[in-house]
């Protein structure tokens, strides 16, 4: 107990020989094989009884060296790889990458492609949030929402599958637009889905929002103030739940988000409950965007003029989008060859995960689970 809790990062991984009643410190290793760490996150917890004194994340178990691979692939060849980072929001990843390369190339996707991109990306945001909700609720012990969300997520995946043949790692977009025209009935499917899913979101809320246990488990847990969020670089719903009204779709519109009317849901307390509410509201906003996009889906080409062999001019570009988890940025350095000289992904999960320690200090072990869930991390993206 003499050790200041602030120097957490120097946490001694070795289990101490102290008897834990005296030292009041129990070092527990959570993961990488643990059902609530959403993959292969390993968290080393320092506990006083059940109270968390500090924790350290050990990551890298899924490290595949995406950035290195990028340097050895052409721009087009690398496109499918980005889907493997945040595999629950693959479309968003693809959108960010394609737009970054397009920016580098100086091309712009035609309006129809932009619209389809927005539709698919927002659908993807929905899947991501649904998956988050299901697993988060499961972590907190409510097992039913998982199946409800998966049932509805399935409908989106069906649309993806019909559109591009893949459900998860879609590789839906191409640099310069889309490879595939939308299939017949795409608009109808999407519209049907919108009418189908709106009441389902109410259903999730019915199960959880007013559930006393849910509220008790999430209110006041893992509080992160707006300042903390900004200092820690946390973005996405976590940031917005802390009261910072910032969404890249509004702040620095990309694709053609500026044409759509939607709101940025903002929380107040920055606790787990607010993050839950923000994400629920975001799902509804996504539906609004999709509705507008599909109503105004223009005719026209779906692919801009892009050279067969892409050699972006020498230069570097940083482009970021609002992925479901936060700001997803691509920093690409081109040396004029067909391959990126350096490609850096700014993964939202990775940066958001840094806040875990801050959010968990002084909470209980059970809250660590809730907080990991509420951060909505995907280890594929954290480790890349």
């Amino acid at each position: 107990m003499t050790e200041p809790t602030s120097s957490l990062s120097h946490l001694d991984v070795e289990e101490r020989e102290k008897p834990f009643l005296d030292a009041n410190e129990l070092v527990i290793n959570m993961g990488p094989q643990h059902p609530a760490t959403h993959g292969v996150l390993r968290v080393i917890l320092r506990l006083d009884g059940e109270k968390v004194l500090g924790l350290e994340c050990v990551i890298g178990y899924l490290h595949r060296g995406v950035e290195k691979i990028a340097e050895n692939r052409t721009y087009a060849m690398f496109n499918p790889y980005v889907d493997r980072m945040d595999y629950v929001a693959a479309v968003s990843n693809g959108l960010g990458y394609c737009e970054a390369v397009e920016k580098l190339l100086g091309v712009e996707a035609p309006p129809r492609a932009q619209h389809v991109r927005v539709i698919l990306t927002e659908l993807n945001r929905l899947t991501s949030h649904q998956l988050w909700l299901g697993t988060h609720a499961l972590d907190i012990g409510a097992i039913t929402p998982l199946f409800y969300t998966f049932r509805d997520r399935e409908e989106i995946l069906k649309i993806f599958e019909k559109y591009c043949g893949a459900r998860l790692t879609t590789h839906a977009f191409r640099i310069g637009g889309l490879q595939y025209e939308t299939y017949d009935g795409f608009e109808k499917d999407v519209k049907n889905f919108l009418t189908f899913v709106a009441p389902k979101i109410d259903e999730y809320e019915e199960l959880l929002t007013t559930n006393r246990i849910w509220v008790e488990r999430t209110k006041g847990v893992g509080i992160l103030s707006g300042q903390d969020c900004i200092a820690l670089g946390v973005t996405g719903p976590v940031l917005r739940a802390s009261g910072v009204k910032w969404d890249l779709r509004k702040a620095q519109p990309y694709a053609n988000y500026k044409n759509f009317d939607f709101e940025i849901p903002v929380g107040q307390n920055g606790d787990t409950y607010d993050r839950y509410l923000v994400r629920m509201a975001e799902m509804r906003q996504s539906l609004r965007i999709i509705q507008q996009a599909v109503d105004a889906l223009p005719e026209g080409p779906i692919m801009a003029k892009v050279p067969k062999v892409m050699k972006p001019p020498v230069g570097e570009v940083y482009h970021s989008i609002e992925a479901p988890k936060g700001e997803l940025g691509y920093f690409i350095v081109s040396d004029g060859s067909t391959q990126p000289y350096r490609l850096r992904v700014r993964p939202p999960s990775f940066v958001n995960l840094q806040a875990l320690d801050k959010m968990c200090r002084g909470q209980l072990v059970a809250d660590v689970i809730a907080v990991i869930g509420t951060l909505d991390i995907v280890l594929g993206e954290v480790d890349r």
Partner: protein, 271 residues
């Protein structure tokens, strides 16, 4: 900008800010063969094509030649694939690429903030804009102060990313360290770049932005750049004890720390 005279034509000096439409540079260089020869100015580590103001004596050899001349240091890109092809260094002679639209080039970036920073830091920094994205190249010695100023006075309160790039062809200054910053108040994004050599360290920006903690660790992990004053400078993605820094250009894509793999995983090779 004392070094203004040095930069090649491709990077217009600060003094004459031009819109991005400025196409003084023939783009032939970009048409380098796939062998990866990097075109002169920009490619070799300075995509922006900016002179290196920070190091007056010898900025970067790669920058000196006019744009069309062969790069002094050819073959930077291929290093990534582990198949350096130095011979490809000559392609500048192919000024072709007629079909291509003229690529944008970096232009000087002028704003009150830049002016203020200039006044404060003088020649140590240079501000440019490329594709509408602003960035500044800063001398390494100015790094902590300028970041501090950006954070405290210019409201760049959000450190989006810290990353690096490896340019082995540049002697002494092999690495670019890049901070991507964003200001919520101004809704503005900038990049701050500096160059350092292998084995050198750089002041950590964790005291300024706690967000930089893991990002700097990742840079250390991937490039071996040490950050002074970082609270916990150790590997993050790769295991402790791994040898080598994978994102360096001289680290092959199939390369791995065989010894580590054999000891820790008990297998011959991870491939």
């Amino acid at each position: 900008m004392p070094d203004e005279t040095k930069p090649p034509a491709s990077s217009p000096p600060e003094a004459e800010p031009k819109p991005t439409a400025d196409k003084t540079v023939p783009l032939g260089g970009v048409k380098a063969t796939t062998s990866g020869s990097v075109q002169s100015e920009a490619k070799s580590g300075e995509p922006g094509g900016v002179p290196l103001p920070g190091t007056p004596p010898t900025p970067d050899p790669g920058l000196a030649p006019p744009p069309t001349s062969p790069p002094l240091k050819a073959g930077s890109a291929p290093a990534a694939a582990g198949t350096p092809t130095a011979a490809a260094g000559t392609p500048a002679a192919k000024p072709a690429a007629p079909a291509k639209p003229a690529a944008p080039v970096p232009t000087a970036w002028n704003s009150p903030m830049v002016a203020k920073l200039k006044a404060q830091f003088g020649s140590g920094m240079e501000a440019l804009t490329y594709l509408g994205q602003n960035y500044m190249t800063v001398d390494r010695s100015l790094i902590p102060e300028i970041l501090q100023v950006l954070h405290n006075d210019e409201q760049f309160d959000y450190c989006v990313d810290v990353t690096a790039g490896h340019y082995p062809q540049r002697e002494k200054k092999e690495f670019d360290v890049i901070w991507i910053l964003y200001s919520y108040a101004r809704n503005e994004r900038i990049r701050v770049k500096t160059q350092i050599g292998d084995g050198e360290s750089i002041p950590s920006s964790v005291p300024i932005w706690p967000a930089a903690n893991w990002l700097e660790r990742e840079v250390y992990d991937m490039f071996g750049i040490k950050f002074d004053g970082h609270p916990d400078m150790k590997r993050i993605l790769l295991p402790e004890g791994w040898k080598g820094h994978p994102l360096r250009k001289d680290y092959g894509i199939l390369q791995q720390d065989n010894e580590w793999v054999q000891i820790n995983l008990g297998i011959e090779s991870g491939q």
